[in-house]
């Protein structure tokens, strides 16, 4: 494996509650290589979005914080504990992020052109005119039609798919090394989703981007990911190459997710849903977080948290009773 651009070690994010700080992300290790798409999969409340925000240094404070002992190294530079100024130099420049809701993620009172040009001027030091020309080129790149006119339009004049293209243009404005994509197609219709995923795929190849793609949709994962990390209750429970994970899931939660997912191309005789629902951050037991919902759980699972262990090269599973 090539040298990772992003190396995360023991990342923990906490939130303040009446009973003290509650963990929402509980010690995550991740490596992201150039030219690779890593899908971070999980249901709501699994901590996958917070992980991305933590990388950007945008965990909403003062109610939330990155816990001591966490490390996020980007091209060898430590981001945890870095100054706001240092982070601003990285954000939007060498690490960029796109979000789920294209409807609310753009400033309604600024033209689209100005919003793209802003990042270029801040990070690349281009003048007004040069930044504007560069923004036009970017709109071309993300295939927004009749770009000259659309530069002067406001976000409300764009459809959801087009807004997400604008978000991508903003993200790519400074040729970043890493792109964090937080459910970028969840709010879009399927045909538009396919277009946006196709665009991301092209751009990733052209720019040698490392993409951290956050989603709950296993179909999208199968479509675009090179590697997969499955999150449950703030931990990674399984990771590996996408083919291996889908062919032979080892963790009962991954197994359950796949068993709950319907397929358009095949009849599924009987759905095998996972019973119960995701535990609240404060309501975790001593043992494995998934044990209360796990069909394979034994007494050890209730008392002792399993470690994330290699079961094959490049394949990690956090389970006492892997399949």
């Amino acid at each position: 494996m090539t040298e990772p651009v992003l190396a995360i070690r023991n990342l923990a994010v906490e939130f303040r509650s009446r009973d003290g700080w509650l963990p929402a992300v509980r010690g995550i290790d991740l490596d992201l290589a150039p030219n690779e798409t890593l899908a971070l999969v999980g249901e709501s409340g699994s901590g996958k979005s917070l992980t991305a925000l933590a990388i950007m240094g945008l965990v909403p404070g003062p109610a939330g914080r990155i816990a001591a002992g966490s490390s996020i190294r980007f091209e060898g530079e430590e981001l945890v504990g870095a100054s706001e100024k240092a982070l601003d130099a990285v954000r939007g420049n060498r690490i960029a992020m796109i979000f789920q809701e294209p409807m609310t993620a753009l400033n309604p009172t600024m033209t689209v052109g100005a919003q793209i040009a802003e990042a270029i001027r801040v990070h690349r030091g281009l003048g007004r005119d040069a930044a504007w020309r560069e923004s036009e080129r970017l709109l071309d790149l993300v295939k927004v039609p009749s770009r000259r006119r659309r530069m002067h339009d406001y976000p409300h004049q764009f459809s959801g798919g087009m807004r997400q293209r604008v978000m991508i243009a903003i993200a790519l404005a400074c040729r970043p090394r890493v792109l964090l994509a937080d459910e970028p197609t969840t709010a879009l219709d399927v045909t538009i989703q396919a277009q946006v995923l196709g665009l991301l795929e092209d751009l990733k190849r052209e720019h040698g981007l490392a993409v951290l793609f956050i989603t709950h949709n296993l179909g999208v994962v199968a479509l675009i990911a090179d590697r997969v990390a499955v999150m449950y209750a703030g931990e990674i429970v399984e990771s590996g190459r996408v083919e291996a994970i889908f062919a032979a899931p080892k963790h009962p939660y991954t197994l359950g997710l796949l068993g709950s997912t319907l397929r358009i191309d095949r009849d599924i005789e009987a759905l095998q849903p996972i019973p119960g629902s995701v535990p609240a951050p404060g309501a975790l037991g001593r043992g494995c977080a998934f044990a209360p919902r796990c069909p394979r759980a034994v007494s050890r699972c209730e008392t002792e948290p399993p470690p994330l262990e290699a079961v094959a090269p490049g394949r990690l599973v956090r389970c006492w009773m892997p399949a």
């Binding site: 009446r18 109610a63 019973p275 119960g276 629902s277 535990p279 609240a280 404060g282 309501a283 209360p292 919902r293």
Partner: protein, 289 residues
């Protein structure tokens, strides 16, 4: 699927926004208002003198042990007048707000529920009403009908109709589109039942907040009208009227202006504190879940 297969997670009860540490201002306001209400209720027993008893010999006396807040230009005890005036202020405020609340909510809910041109018409009319300065509107009404307690209540109620109609209409419009209202229709509930059982309880919170905030305004308007001379007729003591009389001798006896000023300020401020706290507790946008 069996019942136990569905784990029922107990969602932690919302952190009470009413604990003192969370909202100290609300509690200070509540204590202050409680004090004023008790004083008003017990006025005949706790006031040291008769508020109407004149004594030319004792006129314009500065505060002393005998008259804690001094006497006015008729020699009447200021503290006693102040305590008795609280009754008028509170009564006018509460009555006018109750009137405005009932009428305003009825108008707002009806307009929101029926919608369409009826809604535009009613809200347009209320906009006109609202665009008039409330003090001027009150002034006009009282000037036309003549100053009296009932007319004062009516005038203030009219000036505060529009805010209640608005605050009742907005959630009605939003609730009308909610799925549980449609579900109610699909279940065959009557329109009246849907409004009474499913709409009204969901907007009461907003209405109560507005009521507490506008009660402060009502008391302020009452004082203003009394100050201009359009309030309850003298010699009945009112805070605004006392300030008006005190203002005439402000150079010789400034305490006559200070005492009613502080009484009005304390009451309005206390009500605003309560209203503010209530709004924070009710407004979901400000509440952190």
């Amino acid at each position: 699927m069996t019942a136990e297969a569905v784990a029922i997670e107990t969602v932690r009860r919302r952190r009470s926004a009413f604990r003192f540490a969370a909202a100290p201002l609300t509690w200070i306001g509540a204590a202050l208002i409680a004090l004023i209400i008790v004083a008003a209720l017990l006025a005949p027993w706790i006031a040291p003198y008769d508020p109407l008893e004149q004594s030319i010999a004792d006129r314009l006396m500065p505060p002393s042990a005998e008259h804690l807040l001094g006497t006015d230009s008729f020699g009447r005890d200021v503290l006693s007048r102040l305590i008795h005036a609280a009754r008028i202020s509170l009564a006018v405020g509460v009555l006018s707000i109750a009137l405005a609340m009932v009428a305003g909510c009825a108008i707002g809910i009806t307009a929101g529920w029926i919608g369409g041109w009826f809604d535009s018409l009613v809200m347009g009319a209320l906009d006109v009403l609202m665009s008039f300065p409330s003090l001027l509107l009150g002034l006009m009404v009282v000037a036309m009908l003549g100053p009296s307690l009932e007319h004062l209540v009516l005038a203030i109620a009219i000036t505060e109709l529009a805010p209640f109609a608005r605050v009742a209409r907005a959630p009605t419009l939003a609730l009308k589109e909610r799925d549980f209202i449609e579900a109610g229709r699909a279940l065959g509930l009557s329109e009246l039942r849907i409004i009474v059982v499913h709409v009204v309880p969901n907007l009461l919170g907003d209405v109560v907040v507005v009521a507490s905030l506008w009660l402060a305004t009502a008391i302020r308007t009452e004082a203003s009208l009394s100050f201009i001379g359009l309030g309850v007729k003298p010699p009945t003591p009112t805070w605004g009227g006392m300030l008006r009389e005190g203002f005439e001798t402000i150079l010789d006896a400034p305490w006559l202006s200070v005492a009613p000023s502080l009484a009005i300020l304390a009451t309005v401020l206390a009500l605003n504190m309560i209203g503010d706290g209530l709004r924070d507790a009710v407004d979901p946008r400000l509440r952190r879940d």
